[in-house]
Symmetry: C2
Subunit: 451 residues, 2 copies
């Protein structure tokens, strides 16, 4: 399995370029390809904000032990921990070598390290060493008293000394006992997020709308259960349902914060991209804590390069509104339009409103949908589309951005718009290719705007 | 030489009436492929600012006559006029058709039109028509009194009506009699601009530094003349010299404003890209006005798709400083470094200073250049490079951004740095591949920073 050279079992020496006194072998901590380290840093630094008032939150924690090296970053709401999977000396598989190195913990400024590593040739070997490395948090003072607390990073002729902070101060996630959990293919969870996340509210006053609501659902006793996700900002709503995965029936209802969703989106994409071509799509494990059920969720999935990533996230503490009431159950009027043609026409007519208003007037009439945008400043844009429509003509105003995002989140060649009257919410669902029936798995709702 | 502006002294044939089917064939004004119109609009709208207090400056002027249709935009300092070269009805070559259409002038909001046309399929045919089209500025009232003054733009099922303004109000460039002129390949002028434009000042208080100084130069009587360009912001300077083109000896010294240079950069790039592969590089004509010599310059070059573009630009009215005094004539100390290696090392060490300071400490010593950046916050970055150096060790502080931009503007595999003492300007020139001699055609100077 491992292609190893002759004498690879001795501890690697730090520094190692040019002159100077012989480097202290005890300082050797991490030796890894720049490209591998860069990918790992990108995975975890998504939660590091620009400039924290608590300096340690700007840092990433390196920890070696139990045969692995991990990187952790946190904003106190989300912890992302990542294997440095391909840590090695000279080749892509250095698992044996990782097992041989002695345990340590070390913090480094995350953004600066990411930038520094990003400027190196991705094939270059990076050595990270620090004086007086600690074995674990709490096991004694870091570094020499009054000594240099900077870690040395070197690659080729480039050498960096970055300030390190005491790893004791790095916040650990609260311990978590697992109450319920289930698994999904990353592709399935990723598609479900993509179908609803455009509707997540950014209004901080309605903080309980700042995420995706995930909950198991049963329509009535004896009815089959499913797993639902919804997001809304009051002006539009997306809702998707999935077949109930094993173990999800007892999962608590949770609101996953916007940043959690964004971090998972990136990680799942990397996992899908990194998976071997013929393999099953990588799976993500979702677990809820038993203490204060629903207050914390843990995710585990493969990293893009074969290690594992763990995300522990606080959920939003609030009640998600009874969103089902917003979805028109059986709208009496129905229009069916080609989805791609509608999207293209919306893009064109919306150009005129771009600077002032996003409202587009949609007039449904016999076999024709007419989209109009007018502005006092520039003039008017108008486009007609073929449209299956049986009733009296009806004109509805819709926000062109919300409408486009809803259409983009749907699938299928055609979209069915369910209407009631000009002031009522518009329900949109994809139309099945084969039988022309509407699928209820994925629903988008857009509230009308005044025209 | 290129054709001058269109002759607009055609007899009037009367305008159409405003709207209502059947369409009046006399209203048909422009019919052109969306892709062709979009390229032409992009060429001219570079001078249209976001939101002008004078509404007409937000508009582009269409003018047909003399067998061509032109688009013009201006910010009152620069006028860009562009042929709608491939204007046609059904194919790529509609020159005959263009000749057959009746003369007109028409203004349309530039940015809105660009956005609208950009959303169309580039193959789609666009028709622009307006009621009561005018033959030329000043030839009578636009449109019907109290009628619709909007132009109709249609392509497929998409229809737009954009407000048009009276073409009379569109500012014409002052008439210009040519005093001197010369031609250069676009590649040569483009390279010369690229070699110095990074050093153009953005400080509005020193407005006379907000451009490139262009002047013919003769070192002394009997010495050969050349054509020089220079830019400086006080902290660095770029200067390039070209063989004197025919006609340039009598060209006045001018300061070409930053926006003029940017507009020409884009147009020259399009001309070079659009030229047939085996052909000579397209040439640009540069002419100076005889009234108030040097106050206005005219440029003419081919458009990317075969038409022509004309740029008339006011020059900056001020005295460019005697920049030659800033260039060390014969610096006593000389270092020679690999240019690509120095650039890569600078990029890496500069990461640490990114947030706070761009100063990098460069220590020249026997056969080695050491670059160091230190910050209180993050730590220190250091990299060594092989370097030909004969003197005592010398440490100089340089702004890493200015240094990198100077190196990028130079050519050759190696760069020679001419130094005097730590506080003196540093001269940089490329080193010839063959004989190791320094070329004086292109010089960069960077002032030292305190370390």
């Amino acid at each position: 399995m491992m292609a190893r050279g002759a004498n690879r079992d001795e501890p690697e020496t730090g520094g190692g370029t040019g002159g100077g006194p012989p480097p202290d072998p005890r300082k050797a901590a991490v030796r890894v390809q720049a490209g591998v380290l860069h990918a790992a840093l990108k995975d975890v630094t998504g939660v590091v904000a620009g400039r924290n008032t608590v300096p340690i939150l700007d840092h990433v924690l390196f920890a070696a032990g139990d045969g692995r090296i991990t990187l952790t970053a946190t904003d106190l709401d989300i912890w992302v921990t990542r294997d440095l999977a391909s840590n090695d000396r000279d080749g892509p598989d250095g698992a044996e070598w990782v097992k041989s190195i002695r345990p340590f913990v070390l913090t480094l400024p995350a953004k600066a390290l990411l930038a520094v590593i990003g400027e190196l040739d991705s094939e270059a070997m990076v050595t990270i060493a620090a004086p007086g490395l600690r074995l674990s948090p709490g096991s004694g003072p870091q570094g020499e008293p009054g000594g240099d607390n900077r870690a040395a990073i070197s690659a080729g002729r480039a050498r960096f000394r970055l300030h390190s902070l005491a790893p004791d101060d790095f916040p650990q996630p609260p311990p978590m006992a697992v109450a319920a959990g289930f698994e999904l293919p990353c592709t399935v969870l990723g598609d479900a997020f993509a179908a609803v996340e455009h509707a997540i509210s950014t209004e901080e006053t309605r903080y309980y709308l700042n995420g995706i609501y995930l909950h198991p659902f049963q329509a009535g006793e004896g009815a089959p259960m499913d797993l639902r996700m919804a997001a809304t900002d009051g002006a539009r709503l997306g809702r998707v349902l999935l077949d109930l995965p094993d173990g999800a029936a007892s999962f608590p209802a949770v609101i996953l914060a916007r940043l959690t969703v964004a971090v998972l989106d990136k990680l799942m994409l990397a996992a899908i991209k990194g998976a071997p071509e013929d393999a099953e799509p990588p799976r993500i494990l979702i677990e809820a804590a038993s203490e204060a059920p629903g207050a914390r969720v843990r995710f585990a999935l493969p990293a893009g390069d074969g290690g594992t990533v763990e995300v522990i996230a606080k959920t939003i503490d609030g009640s998600f509104p009874d969103y089902a009431r917003v979805i028109p159950a059986d709208p009496p009027l129905r229009a069916v339009v080609d989805r791609a043609a509608l999207l293209a026409a919306l893009r064109r007519v919306a150009v005129l409103g771009a600077a002032k208003s996003r409202v587009v007037r949609a007039k449904f009439a016999a076999e024709q949908l007419t989209l109009t945008v007018s502005t006092l400043e520039l003039g008017e844009a108008c486009e007609e589309l073929p449209c299956a429509w049986a009733g009296e003509p009806l004109t509805v105003g819709l926000d062109s951005k919300y409408w486009r995002e809803a259409l983009l989140a749907l699938d299928g060649d055609e979209v069915a718009l369910g209407l009631t009257y000009a002031g009522a919410p518009v329900r949109m669902r994809g139309v099945g290719r084969d039988d022309g029936s509407e699928s209820d798995r994925l629903v988008q709702v857009v509230m009308p705007a005044r025209v």
